[in-house]
């Protein structure tokens, strides 16, 4: 051992280890633990183990149920989305492309009549 600056004793581990070595040979026998203590402690360990396993099982079931609920909720939420409405049909424009022959002939005659009337008007002015 030695004294450090503060006056406190500083022990040298190797010296202490060497001093204690012979004493370690004086092995005191290990005592027997009473059987009742063994029984209680092993029983407590078994009970706690079962409790831990059950708790773990419940946690897994709850987590699975929560995941399932999220999935079902997501499916229901996105399933009912309405189809976007089609653009309004311009019936008049379509109608121009869907003429029957009679309608076409009638249009042509009217066009010719208007043209003749325009010519007569022009000649009358001259």
């Amino acid at each position: 051992m030695k004294k450090c600056a503060t006056g406190e004793t500083e022990w040298v581990e190797s010296e202490v280890t060497a001093a204690v070595r012979p004493w370690l040979e004086l092995r005191r026998p290990l005592p027997e633990v009473p059987a009742e203590l063994d029984r209680r402690i092993l029983l407590a360990a078994a009970v706690r183990r079962s409790r831990r396993i059950r708790r773990g099982r419940w946690l897994r079931i709850t987590a699975a149920a929560a995941a399932l609920m999220v999935m079902v909720g997501g499916v229901l939420y996105f399933r009912g989305e309405p189809v976007p409405e089609a653009l309004p049909v311009d019936h008049e424009a379509l109608a121009l492309w869907d003429w029957t022959g009679v309608e076409q002939a009638g249009y042509n005659l009217n066009f010719e009549l208007d043209s003749r009337q325009a010519e007569l008007a022009y000649l009358a002015m001259r």
Binding site: T9, V16, L26, R28, L30, R52
Partner: protein
Amino acid sequence: MTTETERSDQALIVGYLGGDEGAFSVLYERYKRQLYRYVNDLLPGQRSEADEVFQRAWLKAIDSLPRYRDQGCFLAWLLRIARNVFLDRVRAERRRPQPERFDPEEEGASEPVAPSGSEPWRELDERELARVLDRVLAELPSEQREVFVLRQEELSFKEIARIQQCSINTVLGRMQYALKNLRRKLSAIDAGGLIK
């Protein structure tokens, strides 16, 4: 394939936490007697109190197993738990241990010591020596006794310092004074001395 008795402490703990029924009983059998001796050394002559501390220490260890990190010595971890249980019990009973003062004069340095080299206790047979050593240990101050018994459990001084929550230097000092006291007390062994 390793047998149950060959599995490491960490493997047994992992097995127990995973649901292996036999793993804990192997671990328990491995360390129960050392812990029992330690607890009885903390409470010499108080068998029922020692049993209670022993049981509580194991229950606390079982509850703490999920948090156990393999840092080399399961026994040191277990002994630390037992010590804390013992201290909790002491606080609960409102007994405050006196602070240790390592004054060499107070440790009986003035008492006559057998000449160096003479070890009369060596003449005792093993059983008698164990009985005498137990008795002499019980007379040591508690901190010195604890250092001695923990060293007998092959714990390093560093681990003992961690258990006692003090510096290594303090532990070394306690060990030296423990040896000094043991030598002094055992030197008084003679036909009419400690042997009854």
